[in-house]
Amino acid sequence: MSSELPLLSLLIWVPIVGGLAVLAVGTGNNSAPAVRWLSLIVALVTFVLSLVLFFDFDRSTYLMQFVEKAPWVPVFDIYYHLGVDGISMPLAVLTTFTSVIVVLAAWEVIRVRVAQYMAAFLIMEGMMIGVFCALDAVLFYVFWEAMLIPMFLVIGIWGGPRRIYAALKFFLYTFLGSVLLLVALIYLYFQAGSFEILDFHALKIGLEAQILIFLAFLVAFAVKVPMWPVHTWLPDAHVEAPTGGSVVLAAIMLKMGTYGFIRFMLPITPDASAELDGLIITLSLIAVIYIALVALVQEDMKKLIAYSSISHMGFVTLGFFLVFTIFRDSGSVQGAALGVEGALVQMVSHGFVSGAMFLCVGVLYDRMHSRLIGDYGGVINTMPHFGAFMVFFALANAGLPGTSGFVGEFLVIMGAFKANFWYALLAATSLILGAAYSLWMVKRVVFGKVANDNVAALKDINPREMLVLGSVAFFVLLLGVWPDPLLEVMHSSVAHLLAHVTVSKL
């Protein structure tokens, strides 16, 4: 499939250029309304472009599509090489959708330096799409790192009381993770003779080197996912970030870590992955269970959702690394596809659901300026519409059948059963724990008697907030009852990936 337009370049550069335009417009006095509308238009245009990508996408092939390739730094063999397959395309669409939501969610809420806020998110959007579309390792790394700058500013400028600590921690943690990735990529360059990610996939590497590369990748991507025990930056970042920042962090940035697993780790170092899959599965299960327990005792809603994110991302990493156990036991990858596809669905679903949860907390925070569960109670009495949304998203977070949260978790647990009964059992406890922390929070915040005068004075959501929450809810339901369009996109790419990773590279 080739498109006339350089669609991926447009997806990357429209928001970045748009963001710069927003900055330029924002220099005047009283420019906030113009800034908001311009940002919304840019985000919408990008979203529409990404829909073109979704519908023009050829579902029958695992090959990269919409490929663009041009020399960028010829001295170093670095190319401006873009392309998407069934794994990255849904994530690009998720990014553009989330950006529209973020712009809308910030509409009247952000009052200081509106232009800089909107521009930061738009520029970040372009870079995040760049991460998902880059097929050149250096290009990937450039987007991967560059994206930290706007996020750092977003947390630090518009964040809560401990924003400076959180912003620095966020940046340094993720920066520390990714520098090792850079060394690994340079090493691979000398082995493969190019920076092409697909050449890395085809490269034969000895086991010892594979393990070292695997570990470098692991540090970089595990920090981003984040996996236990390198997750501690996430609760801080989430709690202090403004609502939009939390939404982007949860919905997209965490996906970059798992995207790295599936684009780099599994195909480049399959033997090391097979060797060390026990490690990843253990860490994933710890995240799934232990972090869920941690979530249970949180008193801050944002922290609770942050921990629940880590727990849910554990499902994703678990789903990816089941393949080796299944392959060793049965000699085929039949059941493994369930795990990987489940994990991919979980990535998209978690993008919607956790984003929505942060939006809900944002709605409450804008009114009460508190995120503590104890400050709320009986919100449903004063905010019935909002209460309905919050309950719905909490149920989706707990993996209720009919919501997108269910599909991913169910598929991963099915995959886990094929691998090992105990994996499945342990992973499935998270359904219980997830229900426990989500519903218990909802019970304390939404239901019950009106807790205090502040809650009594709450106003229900306005049409804008209704639109924001409603559109996310629509996708959560749609994916929950009809996940086929998403699964269909992934099939060929996942099958190819699994065929690839089970062939030894030694």
Partner: protein, 478 residues
């Protein structure tokens, strides 16, 4: 005895700068303080003329002239072009700053041009004698520049330290050169290289000489453990002098390192590689860690310089052409970022106020979003975060290091660059996350603002399109 007439064309830019510096010296005597701008414009015109001469003579092939003392080649031309640009930027940034402090005297420009001449001779030196001559010419001009504000105790102290330690370094370098001469019987860089490859490379005198040479160069570059003078001098000198000594001389020091160590002593690579590994690891460690504790931004940038020198040495110690060109790219990029960093201090300073504490950057985003953004780019570039050019500088060096199978060294360097990121982020933190204490509008003039903006934009633009400069660096060494 036959007298061969040297090829003066090869040294035309140097001759031009020398002549102009003398003319400016004389003209300046007849100018009143009000008309000092004439000196300034003449100095800029000199730089422009030198650049034109270098460019027009560039087409001639590599020429060794003055009886093998002087070389004119592509690497020299590129480095000289950069030195002109850097010096011109220093003059541009300095004019207002110096005027506000009563330091805008002809001496600044004349000394600056003599320093420039010294650097040009260093860049083109092909004999240890010319090399030393250029180095001393540059150093003496710089010592005097640091002391230009003679009523300031801090400046005088800085100048004293600079002079004493600089003289010590020159002494060590000269001692090393004498040993090399004793061991090989030649002063010429080409001759040195020849004799060494012919097989006297294990001569202990030669190795002793090498040690002294490396120590001397490390002093001049400011590599740990020979870095002591850098923070004090950078801190004590008026900011425009700091700007000068932290930028152009590093390019010249890089040039003599390449000429002397890589070209002349290339045959001893296995010996100096080990020394440089130690120097560079120490510099990266000490520079980055101590910079964390600084509250004065000039001192912080001084320690940051030390760590950058360590990174640059990583490129040189590989002993490969790719490594040399990576180091060259690194040093050129470094000067761009240094100009930006110190330039911003000058931009924020005004009459009677030095913006040299980190707190002085508080709330810059409120006062001037544009310059806060420029400083943001420069800081992220020095931290090596894409999409700024600092990232490609690191990438180039790391690539060269991984190429010679020293992955562990690359890992070491990148881990410490994370510590480096921490203190650059502090500047960004002050600019963006804190409220301004000082709400006075920026007082800088239009030309200052324009050049500062250009400086920031170049750092970003080279980050998006780094290919051209990288290719240039690879070509001139290839």
């Amino acid at each position: 005895m036959e007298f061969t007439h040297p090829n003066f064309y090869a040294a035309m830019p140097e001759i031009f700068v020398l002549a102009m510096a003398c003319i400016i010296l004389v003209v300046d005597v007849f100018l009143s303080d009000r008309n000092r701008v004439v000196t300034y414009l003449m100095a800029l015109a000199t730089l422009f003329g030198a650049a034109v001469l270098t460019l027009t003579l560039h087409s001639s092939p590599t020429g060794v002239t003055f009886d093998g003392m002087f070389i004119s080649d592509a690497m020299g031309d590129l480095l000289k072009m950069f030195i002109y640009v850097v010096t011109a930027t220093v003059f541009l940034y300095s004019r207002e700053y110096l005027a506000a402090r009563g330091l805008l005297r002809g001496e600044f420009f004349v000394l600056g041009l003599f320093g420039l001449l010294g650097m040009m001779v260093m860049v083109s030196a092909y004999s240890m004698l010319t090399l030393y001559l250029g180095l001393e010419l540059m150093s003496l001009a710089l010592y005097a520049m640091v002391a230009l504000n003679r009523d300031s105790v801090a400046s005088s102290e800085a100048a004293m330290k600079y002079f004493v330690l600089g003289a010590l370094a020159s002494g060590l370098l000269l001692y090393g050169m004498s040993m090399l001469y004793g061991a090989t019987g030649t002063l010429s860089i080409g001759g040195l290289s020849e004799r060494i490859t012919q097989g006297t490379s294990n001569d202990p005198v030669l190795l002793f000489g090498l040690v002294f040479i490396i120590v001397g160069l490390a002093f001049k570059l400011g590599a740990v453990p020979f870095h002591m003078w850098i923070p004090d001098v950078y801190h004590g000198a008026p900011t425009s002098m700091t700007l000068y000594i932290s930028s152009a001389p590093k390019i010249a020091a890089f040039a003599i390192t390449i000429r002397l160590v890589a070209d002349g002593l290339g045959g001893l690579h296995m010996h100096w590689q080990e020394m440089m590994i130690i120097l560079s690891m120490l510099s990266i460690t000490v520079g980055n860690v101590i910079a964390l504790a600084q509250t004065n931004i000039k001192r912080m940038l001084a320690y940051s310089t030390i760590s950058h020198i360590g990174f640059m040495l990583l490129g040189i110690l590989t002993g490969t052409v790719a490594g040399y060109s990576a180091a060259m790219f690194y040093i050129l990029v470094y000067t761009l970022m240094t100009l930006g960093g110190f330039g911003m201090i000058i931009l924020l300073s005004r009459s009677g106020f030095e913006a040299d504490r980190l707190e002085d950057f508080k709330g810059l985003n409120e006062r001037s979003p544009w310059f806060a953004f420029m400083m943001l780019i420069i800081m992220f570039s020095t931290a090596g975060v894409p999409p700024t050019v600092g990232f490609y500088a690191k990438l180039a060096v790391l690539r060269a290091v991984v190429d010679i199978d020293m992955v562990w060294l690359a890992v070491f360097a990148v881990l410490f660059s994370v510590i480096g990121a921490a203190y650059y982020l502090r500047v960004v933190k002050y600019m963006y996350f804190e409220k301004a204490d000082d709400t006075a509008p920026l007082a800088a003039s239009l030309d200052m603002r324009a050049v500062m903006s250009l400086n920031g934009i170049v750092v970003l633009a080279l980050g998006v399109f780094p290919g051209f400069l990288m290719k240039l660096c690879a070509d001139v060494l290839g």
